[in-house]
Amino acid sequence: MKILVPLKRVADPDNANKVKIPAAGDKIETTGLEWKPNPFDEYALEAALRLTENGQTPKVRAGEVVVVTFGPKETEQTLRAALATGADRAIRIDTTDDKLDGDLVARALAALIEKEKPDVVVMGKQAVDGDSNQVGQILAELLDWPMATFAATIKEEAGALVVSREVDGGVATMRVKLPAIVTVDLRIVAPTSVYSTKTAATFKYNDGVRFAALPAIMAAKKKLLVEIKLADLAADQALKVEYKAFQAPPARKAGIKVKDVTELVTRLKNEAKVL
């Protein structure tokens, strides 16, 4: 199975207070930010790796995982980290974040998919910076592929994936024929969430995203990483989403201590007005 995993770097969510908005409010200041891979994309990569191995011997690959990102040269760090984690090769589409919206990303990915012909695109359900939650869905529409969003578990069958997604009040299970788009939720990295046809049903993964050991980090330097110009994938680079203004969330006020439950209830009623 060949899987394409799009990755995006985002400002470190643990250091969200470093995100600054200039007085003009026309953009987000990105200089000086610490970057991390979007957590949902890391989960997608983990799921893709699990689908292309047997669990027991992860070094034996049973498929190919190609990672792709959109960004300037320094976003190759994100790709190298993914290669160290186990992805087989990487593609960087040269551009900058401010020239992108979900629609253009999806159109460029669709063009890339025409060339790469993966069996599945496994991607994060959304990026934690913009929280747009659009690319997977637009991409499925453009390609006219089946899609399963917010996947909590994936089980590979011949020519299809059985995907379960948590919905209000229960779990919906669907079977998507390949090729397909799957967007993943955080449960996908639980120990028994993903099974390839090669993985024993009794196998349990470690919880979470796997660690890249130093030899893999070193070996990742030698894996193939190619650059593609955005223009080669999307002739029309017009954006459909226009950002009008940015505003920082109001600073959190200091909390208060209440002396008993009665006071708590009174305050919740009269001040917070939530009761």
């Binding site: 760090q77 190298r80 980290a81 660690f211 130093l214 980090i217 070193m218």
Partner: protein, 383 residues
């Protein structure tokens, strides 16, 4: 806040740092206080650290290690302390860093096969025992005797202050096989369960609480001669070579501890108010922090300079001793100032800097005292 990594670090160092940070924030930081207070961390953490790729860093791949030179070990060690927030856990997890090198460099193929892989996979714990109740600085005068009897050595004596000694599966032990002085010293691997080898005491310490520290006793303990590392009576040089690297690891530890104490202090100074403003508003306090970070930068620069020389293959015992003294002095100073900035809270166990202050006190003693470092520097300077 400025916090720089050595110039020689590559993108691969950065990636390794990110991995260690993720491991330590998930597996150590949430338990740091509990494990420090319990004077122990779970044994399973060794296996977890190995599975996370931490244990093998700096060891050759042929013996089951992850490769990488000393600069990777130092980078990983720094992140382990910064993100894990327990110096004791880092010390305990790291005891193999001083116990294994003599086996790697001077051990037989059979010793390497038996003793290295289980430690690198986190299944076994290794410790190094040089220091004795009678003294640690004067290694050449150690008293523990090993007398050859056919194909065993009969060991009598005791060792003290041994990091991870309570739980160690084997101890790389310095013994006297020959006459007095450095020419009579050998290294023996003594395994747990060998009759006559007991842990006589778990020691209560000022700091490094999460790391166990033992007193070990050997009474007619019969150790197979096959466990002798290198030639008989040639143990002194491996011990000294080992020390030079240990000193850089300890200097790296000090840089990490001080960085942590400094960061805690900056945050505290921004939040704590006095006389109607955050205490950061007082110039005296800002200048305290400025002094702290300046000395931190200097110690970091010297340590990374010496690490780089070791990576290049230079023998630099004098510089390693200078780096250790610079870093330990700096760390004691920074942790002391950090407690001061925290006021009464700095004296309270709830605050991290209280613990770091106690942890910091070890460094001018362990791995060769400040005074012994100056002896080494005097010798290498030729006076």
């Amino acid at each position: 806040m400025m916090s720089f990594t050595p110039l020689y670090e590559t993108a691969e160092h950065a990636q390794l740092r990110a991995q260690v940070r993720r491991f330590a924030s998930a597996e150590i930081a949430p338990h740091a206080t509990a494990w420090e207070e319990a004077n122990e961390f779970p044994r399973e953490l060794y296996a977890k650290a190995a599975a996370g790729g931490m244990a093998g860093i700096g060891y050759p791949e042929e013996i089951g290690g992850a490769g990488g030179d000393l600069s990777f070990v130092i980078a990983a060690g720094e992140e382990l302390v910064l993100a894990g927030r327990s110096v004791g856990v880092a010390a305990g997890l790291g005891s193999h860093r001083i116990a294994l090198p003599p086996i790697i460099t001077f051990g037989t193929p059979e010793q390497k096969r038996r003793f290295l892989p289980p430690v690198l996979s986190g299944d076994k714990i290794a410790a190094l025992a040089i220091t004795e109740p009678g003294g640690g600085s004067d290694v050449a005068s150690l008293q523990t005797r090993a007398v050859r009897d056919g194909d065993v050595f009969v060991v009598n004596g005791s060792k003290t202050f041994i990091t991870s000694g309570c739980r160690a599966d084997f101890v790389t032990t310095a013994v006297r096989t020959g006459g007095p002085g450095r020419g009579g010293v050998s290294l023996l691997i003594i395994e747990r369960g060998t009759p006559g080898f007991t842990v006589s005491k778990k020691l209560a310490k000022m700091g490094w609480w999460a790391s166990d520290t033992a007193e070990l006793a050997f009474e007619d303990c019969r150790v197979p001669a096959a466990n002798l590392i290198g030639e008989e009576n040639s143990g002194f040089v491996p011990i000294m070579v080992n020390f030079a690297v240990e000193r850089l690891l300890l200097a790296g530890n000090c840089v990490a501890i001080a960085e942590l104490a400094y960061r805690e202090s900056v945050t505290y100074a921004q939040e704590r108010r006095a006389f109607g403003k955050p205490i950061m508003g007082f110039q005296v306090l800002r200048h305290k922090l400025a002094d702290m970070v300046t000395r931190l930068a200097a110690a970091r620069a010297l340590t990374s300079e010496v690490v780089q020389r070791v990576v290049r293959g230079e023998q630099v015992p004098g510089l390693a001793a200078m780096a250790k003294n610079t870093a330990t002095d700096m760390c004691s100073f920074v942790c002391d100032q950090a407690v001061q900035i925290h006021g009464g809270n700095g004296y309270m166990r709830e605050y991290l800097v209280e613990r770091l202050y106690r942890d910091a006190r070890l460094y001018p003693i362990g791995g060769g005292t400040r005074e012994i470092m100056n002896e080494i520097i005097s010798k290498t300077e030729g006076y």
